[in-house]
């Protein structure tokens, strides 16, 4: 039996995180949750996720703190990141292109199947 690929969901709203998790579980992925950037750094160390689904605004240090941290480690810099945020229309490609962010999803318009599709694309 092949090991399921793991998606780390970094989202401070646990109800929203649960929805993403359910959708990704149904699509055959294992999921781990982190409510803020500090917990996410710990989770990255312990579970080595295949993809990170990341909210922008988090309690305490924001998403860029995590992105900086990932980029500063050669073995972590290649983990693909999908950003899912209410501020998608404020994010310019040049702000995030250097951080391994593969796609930005808008929470207000994203469909469950869009999340699965984005993860699949990131894993190609």
């Amino acid at each position: 039996m092949t090991k399921k690929q793991t998606i780390l969901i970094v989202e401070d709203d646990d109800w929203l995180a649960e929805q993403y998790g359910r959708v990704l579980n149904e699509a055959g992925y294992a999921v781990e949750f982190a409510p803020h950037a500090l917990a996410a750094m710990d989770a990255v160390d312990t579970v080595r996720p295949d993809v990170i689904l990341l909210d922008l605004l988090l309690a305490g240090p924001n998403a860029f703190t995590l992105l900086h941290e990932l980029q500063s480690h050669t073995d972590l810099a290649s983990i693909p990141v999908i950003m899912c945020t209410n501020s998608a229309d404020h994010i310019a490609d040049e702000d995030i292109s250097a951080y391994g962010v593969r796609q930005v999803l808008d929470k207000a318009t994203v469909l469950p199947e869009d999340i699965v599709a984005a993860v699949k694309r990131a894993l190609l």
Binding site: D13, G60, H68
Partner: protein
Amino acid sequence: MKGSEGQTNNQVGGLLSSDLPFLVTAAHELKSPLALVRQLALGLESAEVDTATRERILRQIVLTSERALRLTTDLSRSSRLENSMFDLEPINPQQLCEDVAHELTPLYAARGRKIQVASHRGSMLVVANYDLLRRIILNFGDNALHYSNGSEPVELRARVYEKGRRVRLGVRDYGPAVPVNAWRRLRQHLGTDAQVLHSRPQSSGLGLYVAGQFAQAMHGEIGATRHRDGATFYVDIDASTQLKLL
């Protein structure tokens, strides 16, 4: 780390400036609960959802909608403050804290959090409008919701200070410390401008602005204290001298 904390916060600050026009801030804040309700409703469409999960999601939709409605009602109330008459009367702040805790308990319980009122010996009264003061504390309570863990309850607390002339009603939460520069920005705009709270994204800067307006209408003011493990948001209000006359 490649960059400093200041750099990363400037990046987010650039994406969502605290100087955004009021309407943009309001729209952003109302977008969050609407987006959540939408995602929850989409979740109900899944064939995989069992009955218990369905009921839980429905409850989440109701509670999220109620929280958003509190904000819109506050906004509407704040726009009518100057034209409306409201009574200032002696109010027991301890009882008001109990009432707010009771009102927020279903939301907290659904999120797996706790809210409680710190005990206080002795009597105290404030001169306030019950509805406005209740809305201020509800606002702080809504904001604190995401900044407590399961073991540390959010605590509502009323204390007399300035030799009995003022009463401070505070809401203490526990969570990741807000970075100093983000906190400075928050304090700078607290109660005077609507602002997006970058380091407390589940909190409502708009709600704090409205709370500030409500406090001013009662000759009070709001403030905040940063702790190593969270924050306290409070309102200072005049104590009633009525008890002293008895």
